[in-house]
């Protein structure tokens, strides 16, 4: 299938093969220190995912959206961006926000929806916001973030700012009206935006063949005059290369790029989903052999930049930090009642002031002190 740069197997860009060999053409040439840092972020993302899922099963948090198996796509893309670039998540990209520097405690507070949550407990877990790290606010509707990313890129272009926006979205999102609108506008106006499709094989229970008639998602760019490329989404190096390439195109005035990252949703859609209802282990198992984090770890181990003791130390540290954050989060109270009616507008309207008084002076729900 045709891609803008076409290379590798079936036009899928690889940089760090599963056997550990590098493809010079797509090697982002990271320093040793950078690869170690990359690995730490990748690994931390997965550890957090496991812990959060456990918390949910224990009933201590209500919900979690994991990214098991997709860490290279998510962390790699964020790694490739510059600090001034904006990220528009769908809702599966927690690793990217943390990598950028979103406060860990704040993230955990959001999962618990407590009084310290920046979102003030208003949204489900994992619907966080990170303005300080140029990470947009998360919503649940699929694909709605894509035109926002295009708008940011558009505004930056109009103002002459050196800023690129990146939107994450899944294969399901490419069926939405917002994807179509965004691709079209991005194409017409050559907007500096990176449109990154995490092709993880599933939209809840909907497999690819029910989502699109095309063989790839990258080729959808043709219809909009936006070059598309396919990248091994489990190859963090390739993802970094591809996003850097797209950023270079954008900053050179060449407009948008559609990147299809081939990966796999190893876990459930969310903690509310049971994938056993629509897929078998036989399908999932081969992807375990292509683990994105393991691939980078082996790269480091081969070069004696990592070993079991560093692994253990890293894991212990992450788990300790997580435990501390969870303890603090669980000790924090629920958001104050009065916050329920704030931030609807910049200042509350007369109606909201009345409703606030009604809420505060009225009876409390049973079981809520």
């Amino acid at each position: 299938m045709a891609t803008s740069d076409g290379a590798g197997r079936d036009g899928v860009i690889c940089a760090l093969n599963e056997d550990g060999s590098l493809v010079p053409e797509y090697d982002p040439r990271l320093s040793e220190q950078q690869v170690v840092e990359l690995y730490r972020h990748l690994s931390r993302t997965r550890i957090l995912d496991e812990r959060l899922l456990t918390l949910q099963r224990q009933g201590r948090i209500g919900f979690h959206v994991g990214s098991l198996g997709e860490e290279a796509t998510i962390i790699g893309a964020a790694f490739a961006l510059r600090p001034q670039d904006w990220i528009f998540p769908c809702y599966r990209e927690v690793g990217a926000a943390l990598m950028r520097g979103l406060s860990f405690q704040r993230f955990v507070d959001n999962v618990f929806g407590n009084a310290n949550d920046v979102v003030k407990g208003r949204q489900m877990p994992d619907h966080y916001t990170g303005r300080s790290v140029r990470y947009a606010s998360t919503s649940s509707p699929v694909g709605t973030q894509i035109p926002h990313a295009v708008g940011v890129g558009w505004a930056a272009k109009l103002r002459g700012d050196d800023v690129v926006a990146l939107a994450f979205f899944g294969d399901g999102a490419t069926s939405t009206n917002d994807f179509h609108a965004s691709m079209n506008i991005a194409g017409v106006f050559k907007i500096p935006v990176v449109l990154l499709c995490r092709n993880n094989g599933w939209a809840i229970s909907t497999p690819l063949e029910k989502q699109t008639r095309t063989e790839t998602f990258a080729e959808k760019g043709i219809a909009y005059g936006v070059p598309g490329m396919r990248v091994d989404g489990n190859d963090a190096f390739a993802v970094i290369w591809a996003v850097q390439h797209a950023v270079r195109r954008a900053t050179a005035g060449e407009g948008a790029t559609l990147i299809e990252a081939l990966t796999y949703r190893m876990g459930a859609h969310t903690s509310s989903d049971d994938p056993n209802r629509y897929r078998t282990d036989d399908e999932v198992r081969p992807w375990a052999q292509r683990d994105p984090i393991e691939r980078v770890r082996r790269y480091l181990v081969d070069r004696e930049l990592w070993d079991d003791s560093r692994e253990a130390e890293h894991r212990t540290q992450v788990e300790r930090l997580f435990k501390e954050a969870v303890d603090a989060a669980e000790r924090s109270p629920a958001p104050g009642l009065d916050t329920l009616l704030d931030d609807v507008y910049e200042r509350p309207t007369w109606v909201l002031l009345e409703q606030r008084a009604e809420l505060l002076s009225g009876p409390r729900a049973p079981g809520h002190g």
């Binding site: 904006w86 916001t129 035109p147 708008g151 558009w154 505004a155 917002d178 609108a181 910049e346």
Partner: protein, 324 residues
């Protein structure tokens, strides 16, 4: 002082806003080269260039969605929806994203922008060029909804809306785009949001109205006066947040309420207005409130003058309220 119609007034508001603030940009279908299908944006592209007056592809969801991104970045987009009837593809972006962005980000972000659209019938527009779609927007927390009736208010309210920190939906009554004329100051001025205007004082019946029907209500009021009934016609101007004080002050004086709107009756804005009045001024009412509205049908073409709540339907409602 110039005598301008509403198109000229809105055109000038956009011009003045864009002159004052480089971050104000206009985008929509046919707004640039052609100056808008109603000429509301005429001349703006010549003056400000195609970097600030943007002809977009045909996609309302995309217009609003990308404008949200621009607003998040710090620009002040004024997005045009060519007819209010075509705002629906953008409704998801407006309801789920624009209206909620501040709240759902704990106040970290806000998307300050204006969406403008011509609304209303009486121009032989049929189902799809006559809608008055305000009710489903008033109902959504986080939006402000405006509908001016006069050129003066249109310019002043739009200039205010452009700098409002919250998202504003600005509905323009197209039937009076050219018919409504009045004094409009040049340069910059604003009309306060959330403030209704008593267009005609009277002691007997309160008539709440907005948009093109203001003129029908005033006509009915003149005829009612011939029969000794003095209407107080209140032009709401800002639909939400509505000026409840002016409304209650009037009803407390008159004890009788007639609400007029083009939009279909059921769950129209009149339902909310009457609820508010009944909740707060029940014991001041001397007669049941009455709604004079469009019927619960799609907007008809041939029979549109029977559909609209024109003066000939407002008058009997006012007289009945006065005599009850």
């Amino acid at each position: 002082m110039p005598q301008w119609n509403m198109v000229q007034a809105i055109n000038d508001a956009l011009r003045v806003a864009m002159q004052r603030d480089d971050d104000v940009i206009v985008l929509g279908e046919d707004v640039g080269k052609v100056g808008g299908v109603f000429r509301v944006t005429a001349g703006l592209m010549d003056e400000f260039g195609d970097g600030r007056v943007i002809d977009t592809p045909l996609n309302e969801g995309g217009i609003v969605g990308t404008a949200i991104g621009m607003a998040l970045y710090g620009m002040r987009p004024v997005a045009e929806i060519q007819f209010g009837d075509f705002i629906w593809p953008a409704y998801d972006q407006i309801v789920n994203e624009l209206a909620k962005y501040r709240y759902r980000s704990g106040g970290e972000y806000s998307a300050s922008m204006v969406i403008r659209a011509p609304v209303g019938g009486g121009i032989r527009g049929g189902h799809y060029h006559s809608q008055h779609p305000e009710a489903p927007f008033i109902h959504v927390a986080g939006l402000k909804v405006i509908c001016p009736s006069t050129p003066y208010d249109a310019k002043g309210l739009l200039l205010n809306a452009v700098r409002d920190p919250d998202p504003v939906i600005f509905f323009e009554p197209k039937r009076v785009y050219r018919a409504a004329k009045g004094d409009v100051p040049e340069g910059y001025y604003t009309v306060p949001l959330e403030l209704a205007k008593v267009a005609r004082e009277g002691d007997d019946v309160t008539v709440l109205v907005y948009g093109a029907m203001l003129y029908e209500a005033l006509d009915a009021a003149e005829k009612a006066a011939e029969h000794g009934v003095e209407c107080e016609v209140v032009d709401l101007r800002t639909l939400w947040p509505v000026d409840i004080e002016t409304i209650l002050e009037s009803v407390q004086k008159t004890g009788r309420l007639v609400v007029v709107h083009e939009a279909p009756r059921t769950c129209g804005f009149g339902a909310e207005l009457i609820s508010l009045v009944v909740e707060r001024a029940f014991f001041h009412l001397e007669a049941p409130p009455v709604r004079v509205t469009g019927f619960d049908t799609p907007f008809p073409y041939s029979l549109e003058m029977e559909y609209l709540p024109l003066s000939h339907r407002i008058l009997p409602a006012v007289m009945a309220a006065a005599e009850a």
